[in-house]
Structure formats: structure tokens, C-alpha cells
Symmetry: C2
Subunit: 455 residues, 2 copies
Amino acid sequence: METTKFILDERDLPTHWYNVLPDLPEPLPPLVHPGTKEPLPREGPLPPPLFPDAINKQEFSTESYIEIPDEVQQIYKLWRPSPLHRAYGLEKALNTPAKIFYKNESVSPAGSHKLNTAVPQAYYAKKEGFKRLATETGAGQWGSAMALGAMFFGLECKVYMVKVSYNQKPYRRSMIETWGAKVVASPSEDTEIGRRILAEDPDSPGSLGIAISEACEDAFAHDDTKYSIGSVVNHVLLHQTVIGQEIKKQLEMADAYPDVIFGCVGGGSSFGGMILPFIKDKMGGKDLRLVAVEPEACPTMTKGIYTWDFGDVAGFAPIVRMYTLGHSFVPPPVHAGGLRYHGMSPILCHLHKLGLIEARAEHQVATFKAAVTFARSEGIISAPEPAHAIKAAIDEAIRCRESGEAKTILFLLCGHGHFDMAAYDEYLSGRLTDYEYPEEKVKEALASLPEVPTA
Amino acid sequence: METTKFILDERDLPTHWYNVLPDLPEPLPPLVHPGTKEPLPREGPLPPPLFPDAINKQEFSTESYIEIPDEVQQIYKLWRPSPLHRAYGLEKALNTPAKIFYKNESVSPAGSHKLNTAVPQAYYAKKEGFKRLATETGAGQWGSAMALGAMFFGLECKVYMVKVSYNQKPYRRSMIETWGAKVVASPSEDTEIGRRILAEDPDSPGSLGIAISEACEDAFAHDDTKYSIGSVVNHVLLHQTVIGQEIKKQLEMADAYPDVIFGCVGGGSSFGGMILPFIKDKMGGKDLRLVAVEPEACPTMTKGIYTWDFGDVAGFAPIVRMYTLGHSFVPPPVHAGGLRYHGMSPILCHLHKLGLIEARAEHQVATFKAAVTFARSEGIISAPEPAHAIKAAIDEAIRCRESGEAKTILFLLCGHGHFDMAAYDEYLSGRLTDYEYPEEKVKEALASLPEVPTA
């Protein structure tokens, strides 16, 4: 019988995170101070001191490999190494000569890859003597992962959850509370900025930008508290490289090497964690396509511009050079809430400019159709975000059927859809619709970019 | 660093199911015909021909090991072998010298052990030329597993879902539909008995008994359709023995042997599948306790009587000798919907009468408290059903702390709680309550047992 899963032993768990920064053919553009608009030193630290020291160092590290602390490895072992599956069922359903593999990060207790970075962020905060973490969450994937990460190290955790999601997704909220964290609807009465927004508009539905601002203010206001973030920045991609490192070992077990790799991108951390360990192969001339898949409703890399912009709405975070739709752009409410971000990981944007990775965009209904094809052939219910990668992988496999090529296709299933069944219900009952690219809104948002003298 | 998971290779997947029937020190009591009240031949088949032939044979088989078909093994490999975890986090939280292990069946794509039997039931139906399966579901665990099992073999599947759950648990319903099965609220207009009940009471909330009757009628009425069932009967326990067989190999890897094993019981299939491969050790004099844990609200083994009763409400199914609270007993609406059954697997009842297994009962609030302790130490959110096993395991570990004994404790995590967060929310907000044992209702129900001349 055919092998369907490639499972590494716990002894094969990566012992180091892979840091792509020293391997880049050109260095990343510097960060720019949000106030002075002057470039910041390339060696860091990030202003203001939101993160634990160790995290701040990792953000700018020039070491190629950074050791994963024993305590973090021990917790990773609760669910890692995660399986790599050969998708025989999907191949058969598509009648394709292509070989399809997927890495399954949905097996983490929080249900996604997010826990890979939540655990070390909590570890370093604890190690440096802090008692609390503050963070934001949109749909709740990151907030639940951070709650669990904090719990493992006995830290308090406060999650500012975008109010509209807080009300729409009570089960993600209950999950956060089950793991012992506090969660409030944002804007909240608990911060200065929250109170100010509520005074202006008591019915504000909140936004990720507001929630980030509240979490940062909370961290500034409490000496015992640090801020944590779930995507975009370098250290988060660094932590996620356990994904790609495991994949490389598992593909060896399967005696395979991909022709093309697909992953969804919001802030870019799961895709980055998957593809960065492959980037030296690519730079060495390997015939390998690395494709980021984003929603048509928020097409940062395919339709945004590469420029200097704020990472957050309030302008607390540094200005970065990246693809952006404008920091004031509010994407349409697609179910793939984790992909609704105006910007993108600076590392991924840089790799795109260098021609090392590609990007494509998909419409919502087509991604759910792909997710149902996947569920009906592989049995697993995908989150709406990785459904974008599934859609792209299915298209590629169909092209292989037409051309007769037996390509090797790999995609990342970064999370399950157990808390997204309402979206499946909409799709199955024909109520799900697409959102066109909101061109005018993006134009407006791009009109208010920060002016950076160095740009 | 310490090993936390014991993972078998796919090559170590059991190749046979273990059949306890020929190893029993005394044979199981015969089944009794629901109409004539006469004993049925011990060699089967089950009247009427609800099941595929192969299943009917397995129900009465005298072979100790029954080969798992290749096609079934291939699908098992999507998630099996499932992990055995050493619960270091829980041990630390309880400050106990006990070693705690748990087998994790929540990793199946349907979220529980139920898929272990759904797959072979679909396989045999397909192999014998049938096109459809009909089944019932209460809270939806079994219905979703059967939908997925049917999907793997391209069978149609119709799930009669108890109306109150159909309305309360829309996400389990969406899961069933995502896998391509049809699901209707029961009582439905689709069957004679459904229409009869709706004519009498258009607002009937339904019951598992009614849903079973509708699914059976559907199977009788369609030549291309067989009935499938998710617990209680011998062949379901047989299929679940992959659980216990894997555990034995994994405990060898861990160089451990349990002093006590806990599992929750509703119909008894997950507990049976776990402990039957240990029963010969127990009969051989091994110092090993096998403990079934049930809800105080539906305490079949701890407060029921051992007698002849119908397995279903309508009296379609054979009369069996088992512990029962009376087939007309409707248990209180505890969140552990999978444990709300008036009877119990005849094999487990027989083993209890023979003194080979024990039973205990737990209150709802205490089981959720245990589940939260587990979530906050091991990170996994348990379903309400296995929370009963967790409660018993925690009690045992605390006794070990008090006595200083370093016992080895094993329990079964038969499913995750991703669709039960509303129940966690009730617990965390202090709204969850216990249901006392409904003694008067049970007395009433026990007054209407069938009269069986052989009894």
C-alpha cells in the first residue's frame, strides 16, 4: 500500500530557525522611524521597545541559524513535526498525472501555524521577567494561538479582538478564555485610544488597526507587559521556518522535490516559513516556482505598489518598504479574515522585487469550491485562508492533466476550518459572493502614504 | 529532552481487527427477536437484513482476528496511527508522581474515533453493490464521520439528525454537507414514521430513537441502501480495536504498562476499542483496572439494571441483554450528547458482569472543570464526552499525589471540542449546571421493559 503521510520522529524536529537575512542577495531596505521619518539603524532595535530583547535581536540578526531554546522545542513536540501528506485522493479526483503534497499545520492544538511563533514569543517574554503579553486579533486565529502560547509559560495574556469578530465568532473567543487569557472587544474602554474612539463612535465595529493600537498602548502602559504580533515582521517568519525545514526532510523521505510551491499570504508568515528554507535552492538556479496566493479583494502583491508605508493604521509601528494598498485601506469582509491586511511581510516583498517569488490572486467563491473539492477527496476541512493555496494547486494540477506533465506540486494547509463552517454553509447554499477589487478605495488609501525623504 | 508523543510508522498500523468474542470466558447471551421474543441463533445473522453481509458476519464472528481490507487501511492512513501522548503538562499541573498517557483520536478529519468504523461500514456496503447508506445522528459526531466514510467510497449518505441538534448545531450539519451527504431534521417528512410523528406533533424536537427508526425505515424502503450504526453493537467495537492495538505498541515504545485505563462510555465503542486488546492480559491475572466513565445524568452501568431491553425506542432492533435505564428513558440534555444512551454495548455489559471492567459516573460541571485543567496544561480542547475520562484520570493522579504512588494512568481522548465551545462558554461564565440522576423517570422507563420468556 502507498504511503500517504511522511512523519518525522521528534528527534528530527529542527533545532534551529533559519534566518534568511544574511543570505539575501541585496539587504532589506531599512525601517523608517514613524515620527522623524528618518531611516533606522539596520542592526535594530525596533523603536519603541515593544518586544522582548531577544525578539528584537532576532528581528535584525545576521546569524543564519538561531538555536530554538529547549523549552520551546519541548512544547513544539506537542504537535510537531507536523505531517506532510501525499494527496492521493485529490490527485485521483482531478485525474491528474501531477504529484500533490501538502504540509498540514492544522494539527496544532490552536488549529494553525500561528502557534509556532506564539510559543517562542511567550518564552522570551517570560525569560526576561515579564508577566503579561498584549496582542490583537481579527478573526481569532492569532489571538487563540497567543493565548495558548502564554499559557504554556504561565503568562497573563490580554487579547484585543476586533469587535465585529468578537460578536460574530464567539467560539474563537471561548477558546481564548478556555486557555486562560482575557479577551475584550476592540475598541475597548481599557485603553486611552479605545476610549477616544468609543467617545466619537460608540458603535464602532473596530478594525485590526485599532486593535493593534490598543495592544501597543497596553504594552507601553504596563512595565510588566510586552507586545506580541502574529505575522509580517522578520522574527515571525524566522520562527515559522520550522515548517519549510521539516518539509525538506519529509520530501527526502518521499524521494520528491517540488516544481512549484503554493501558500496563501495575508501578512506572509506561513508562506515565508514554508519557502524561506527553499530560497537558497532557488537562488542557486533550481527550477522551482514559489507562488504566494492572495484574495482578489485584498491583492497586496498583485495590485499594490512597492513603496514606504505604515505597518499599522495609527502609525505606532515603523514605516517599511513593502507592497501596500495603503494603510488606511479597509479590505472587504472576505471570510479569509487572516488575509485582510493592507501590506505584506517586507522580506516577501523584497524577494518578489528580486524576482525570486511570484504572486497571484483568487476570488472567494472559487477558493471555497476548491476547499470543498479538497474536503471531498482528502477529508480535511480547510480554513478559508489556505483554500487560496488549494485553489492554485488544483489549477496547476489541472494544467498538468491537460499537458500531460507529471509535475510535483506542494501547498501549505496552514489551518483547519472548524470555526469557519458558517462560511461553508454560505458557499454550499449558494449565498457566497465575490468581492471585486475595490480600485477606488485603494486609490484613496494610496493618496495618504507617509512622505519619506529617503524613498 | 523528553519524548512527548509516541508515533507509530504507517507500517505499524494494525492489519487486523481483534475480535474478543471467542476469548470471552462465557459466551455473550443471545439476541432476542423483537417480534417473537425468541432467542436468535448465536451465529447470526441479525434480523432484518439491515447491514451488509460482511458486517453481519463480523457481528457474530468466531475468528479472533479479522483482516482489515487494504482499501480501509489505505484510508486509515490519512490520520492513523494516531499519537499516544505522555501528559507531562498535566502531571506537572497536578504535581503528581503518576505517569499519565492519553491516546489522541481527535486527530481524525471528522474529529473523533467514529471514523474508524464509518470507513469499513462504507467499504463493505460499496463492495456488496449498495449505493446509499442511511444513518441517524444526535449531536452530529457520528453523522459527520459517516458522511466522510461514505464519501471516501463514493456512496450517497442520508443522515437523520435529531431536530433539536439540527437547529442547535448548524456547524456539524454544515460539515456533513461539506462532505457531500444529505442531512434532514428528524422527525422528517421523508419517512412514514417521521410523517406519523409530525402529524401528531408538528413541533416534535425529535430523539435518537425516532432518528434510528427513520434511518432503518429508509434502509428497508430502498433496495440500494443499507443502515449504519456508530456504537453499541459488536462489529463497531471490533473496528475500534485499532485504538487499543496501537496503544499496546506505543506503550512498548514508552516502556510503560498502565495500572488503570479510563474511557468514557455512551454506547461503549471507543472504550471497547481501547480496552478489548487488553482483556486477555486482565483475564490472565494482570493487575490492571479498566474503568468506564459515564454521566451521572445517564448512569447506565452504575445505576441501570442488567436485563433484556430494546436497543432502540421503536423496537426495530433486536432485544439484548445489557445494563439499561429503560428504552423509553430520555436522558437530561447534558452537553456530552454522545453519552446519552439508555443502554450499553452488550460486550461491555457482559465484561462488567464478569468482573473484568468497572464503571463510575461523573457530574457535568466537574467534567468541564477537568477539561479546562487539561486544556490549560496540555493545550488540547477536549469534547465533553472524553472530559469524563479526563476527570477520572485527574482524580486518580491526585490520589497518587496523596499516597505517593507513581502509578501509570492511561485515558482516551476520543474527540476534540471544536464544535462544543458554547458549552465551554457556559462553564467559564458559571452558567453550567449539573443534572441529578432522574430516579423517578428511570423507574417509569424500567416499568416498560419487554417481557422475554428466556430471561
